[in-house]
Assembly symmetry: C2
Homo-oligomer: 274 residues x 2
Amino acid sequence: MKKTGLKLSEIDPRGPNDIDRDAIEKEAKADLKRLDALCYRMYAEDRHALLVILQGIDASGKNGTTKHLAQGINPDGLQVYSFKKPSELEIEHDYLWRVHQGTPHRGNVSIFNRSHYEEVIVTKIHPEILSAQHLPESILNDPDIFEKRYRHINDFERMLAENGIVVVKFLLHISKEEQLERLRERLEDPKKQWKFSQDDLEKRKYWDSYMKAFEEMIEATNTPYAPWHVIPADRKWYRNWMIGRILVEQLESLKMEFPTIDNHKVTLEQLSNA
Amino acid sequence: MKKTGLKLSEIDPRGPNDIDRDAIEKEAKADLKRLDALCYRMYAEDRHALLVILQGIDASGKNGTTKHLAQGINPDGLQVYSFKKPSELEIEHDYLWRVHQGTPHRGNVSIFNRSHYEEVIVTKIHPEILSAQHLPESILNDPDIFEKRYRHINDFERMLAENGIVVVKFLLHISKEEQLERLRERLEDPKKQWKFSQDDLEKRKYWDSYMKAFEEMIEATNTPYAPWHVIPADRKWYRNWMIGRILVEQLESLKMEFPTIDNHKVTLEQLSNA
């Protein structure tokens, strides 16, 4: 596996400076049309599928990204899964159980708003969450528990890839200042207050731990069959453009073709007489 | 991985000759009681789970084994899954999708009557089944497709084991003569005719191919975390005894304990005053 040696602090969450917003927004719109056409072809072909995984700290734009992508994908072939705190039933299974259920049907797209990666992020920073997961002591006390989870996740994603599911993972990378701004907005806008939780403030205290967990996660799970993309996400238009671009490139590389009817001339004739 | 170099033809499907049926049946009954007690403890502990996988050619006794085990396990904590020909929905996903859904809740037992192993048995012998599974051409034409499937299966079972699920796999090994006898019985008994299918005769022609596929499967997927047991299964009482014995040993090795109430004396007092 390619080692990334990634330092998030070295990636500017605003993206490049010398960039023309109007041109980028125009390009992002064109990419959404391309994405629509590619997803339609995938739906017709019914062999591949696309799994988009969105991770990022609170207010990093996971919902906004989902909304943007949803404009470019036929809702018939799109399922969005928000993985929140696991239910009692979910905790009674291995932590990949619920995400496996949500993987896309052939021809379809699933977007995961948070995912199995929470199991190597939040559980790493708050071990009390891990302790509540009904694991046998021998597993709970295993010093390699996270190394094993990285391996489980890589194995799982490789199995998906080797069954025709394209897995693309995005880390939405925002600055601490931008998060402050977005949380303030939530507090000030009566239509957004519902999105705010005291928990967000609590988690903000762990900012550096989250960045470290993200870096370790990417280091361990950036694979050829399921690569990570760190997206500078302070500017939403830049984020949307970059994610759309990557997905278009991914789907184009599959060289999918519309299935055709054998002997379509004969069939056309039959149709006329039917 | 331990290489087995297994030759099924070298294993007598009748089991050892010098064996006392009465003693074995008595022992099997005692083991069912032990199994019941162990499963009850597992249910109370709510941390481990047991996944029993039954494979074997038609009429090898998968249903009979399930019935036997069901006598020893509280039905509250037992789920039985018969994996038949996959549905359209199931084919639209990777082949582990449906079996993952059926893995046991913590504290519970799942018995798989057939399983994901069909995907490296029947699909290997009848490639037309594989071709109908909507896979991308690049995967369908991959000469390593079965090697990759073995790896997927091992990775999946290791992930389960590392989440507290004990995986035990049984191949029910019967002779070709015994199968003939059992199929004849199905034809002759009006209450069993529904179990008979013309397909059974067709598959019987492929007997040697099935044996070879079983051997290759065991060679590739007999792992420390999910071992295979080849069960001489011509004599049902011997089969039942051996499987019960192995499960009792497996569960005993977990050294599970009943959870206790902290400060139970204080709690008892509270109860008196409540």
